[in-house]
Amino acid sequence: MNGYGGKILRVNLSTGTLTKESTPADLARDFIGGRGFGIYFLLKEVPKGADPLGPENKLFISSGPISGMLIPGGGKCDWTTKAPLTGGYASASMGGHFTAEMKYAGLDSIILEGISPKPVYLFIDNDKVELRDASDLWGKNTFAVEKQFKQKLGEEYQIAVIGPGGENLVSYACINHDYGRQAGRGGVGAVMGSKKVKAIVIHGTKSVPVADVETYRKAGQALYKACKEAEAWKQWTSYGTTQVVSWCDEVGALPTRNFSAGTFEGAKTLSGPYMREHIVITDKGCFACPSPCGKYSRMKKYNSNVEGPEYETIGLCGSNLGIADIESVAQANLLCDDLGIDTISAGNAIGWAMECYQKGIFTKKDTDGLDLKFGNVDAVFTLIKKIARREGLGALLSEGVKRASKKVGKGSEKFAIHVKGMEQSGYATHNATAMLLAYMTCDVGAHHNRAWAITYDIQVGRELVTPEKVKRVIWLQNFRPMFDVIGGCRLQWVELDIDRDLYVPAMEAITGIHRTWEDLEKVGERIWNLTRLYWARENEDFGRTWDLPAPRFYEDPPKTGATKGQITSLETVNKLLDIYYEQRGWSLDGLPTAATIESLGLKAVVA
């Protein structure tokens, strides 16, 4: 099958059985790859009500047709599972070089199922596939394990590894790869940990069949040329995602002290240019990337190095915790990566705990003696370690802010910043209605990458609530995650403004199937509806209330900064949902109607 490895590897950890199946042609036709495969497998193979950390849950790792190909950004793979953090759908996208090796080993998907009786790692070298004992690796941090494998096997082997966070089932444990890339959100690392899989080690050398090699070569070159000539290339490669720090601060979107404001007095020393000048030592890209956004940093104060911090980490582990020292943010980044926990959820959860302390809901008795005031760097470092080990206050925070605030009560639910149990990522949305709606309706919880609409808010009017604004969010949700389906990075389109139609001939040359972006958006719409149906299947009371944002954004306007005094009323929030549901073809309670399921051809999938 052109553009595909051709096989799905099924790893039954309970029995130790390893089997390969051919990738079904109709699956590739209808769901293409990546998170398209993921949601299909999740609905079909994981029974309703499965414990996310139990043997019935599975972890689906899928590449897409441009993964491992010479197409800008062809270095992404999707990790889908039932999320320990939310009890709903999780799909985490990971960059680096792992997905290319999957393809070269002839694999489109790896399915981890069951639970191993002892710690293991999965070793794949082309057709040699083995489960190997990992008892001596269990308990080790991610960097040490990756380094050990690289030294033993060689740089060409790619490693995906969990740290103590995953082993200890932290609800937002991540999977680390290439030292600084992660499948970050929703707790995919905890699922891997629950299965006692410490790492996946992979290497392949097989060819990938391509429908039209000459057109593929030319189409790929056209994409690279467009990237290198892009107006924004120099800026983007210099600063990567950190270029938005100052802008977010200016427009009141920079999460500050647990999202109580969107402007931070210390933003200047967290900015991209400041970081580049003071701590960045080199750039780093993923597979086949012409615009490397990764930044390697040296923290002299701590005698350490890290890939990062990215914008999200700066927002959540910096301004959101009242920290303006970029070296300290980078060190927090290092601790989270090495211990294997998501920097976004960790920073958000610590911010919530700091506000509990500020309000007197927590005293030092509750914080294991830590002086948990905003800006206390040492307390943050200590808490990150406690979260990964699930010790003391860290055990509470390891459950995520939704569960933690429910346990603590005392009004702390009001400033637990999440949607559907996933901690909100790095944009404060007090007055940005499209971005707020994007968070409310995102299919994994409050994550930004499906529909990033805040610039649109500012251009057309932040408070405005119109059908056009909602339509924009829906279009982004159908379109942007298609990069996670085809196995590519969206940032070339997003940040360099590459004409998306340049991907069309490349995709066709690889797969032999002509698909326009309109065709791909239709697939995106089908996937979006399936993820919604999955949430509803797994949660009996699922509906409109699950889409509500944190009360902070409709009850508690910032007292300082660019959005001082600004808020989106609950009435407006519900109006946004009314329009959104209507445009999606969903009921007033936010569930896809029978007519919508029928019109999208999804009846057989959800039957």
Partner: protein, 74 residues
């Protein structure tokens, strides 16, 4: 000699799809953007003659000013 403003991405829609527009020296970047119908707050990055600038920079004759809107986020 007039100055040059270079627009990227969807900002070109405010200039008939063209990347480059000649602008009058003596105005701030903010004023030039407003005159084109671009809300200045959408602009994340201003680069003047390959150096970091800002929206309050007063444009000089011969300057090449690049403005970038963040359209996608991380």
């Amino acid at each position: 000699m007039p100055a040059t403003l270079r627009l990227s991405g969807p900002l070109r829609d405010f200039n008939g799809g063209q990347t480059e527009v000649k602008v009058q020296a003596g105005l701030t970047v903010r004023e030039v953007l407003t005159n084109l119908g671009i809300v200045p707050e959408t602009i994340a990055v201003v680069v003047v003659n390959d150096e970091q600038g800002n929206k309050d920079y007063v444009i000089q004759e011969g300057d090449v000013v690049r403005v970038l809107a963040i359209i996608g986020g991380g």
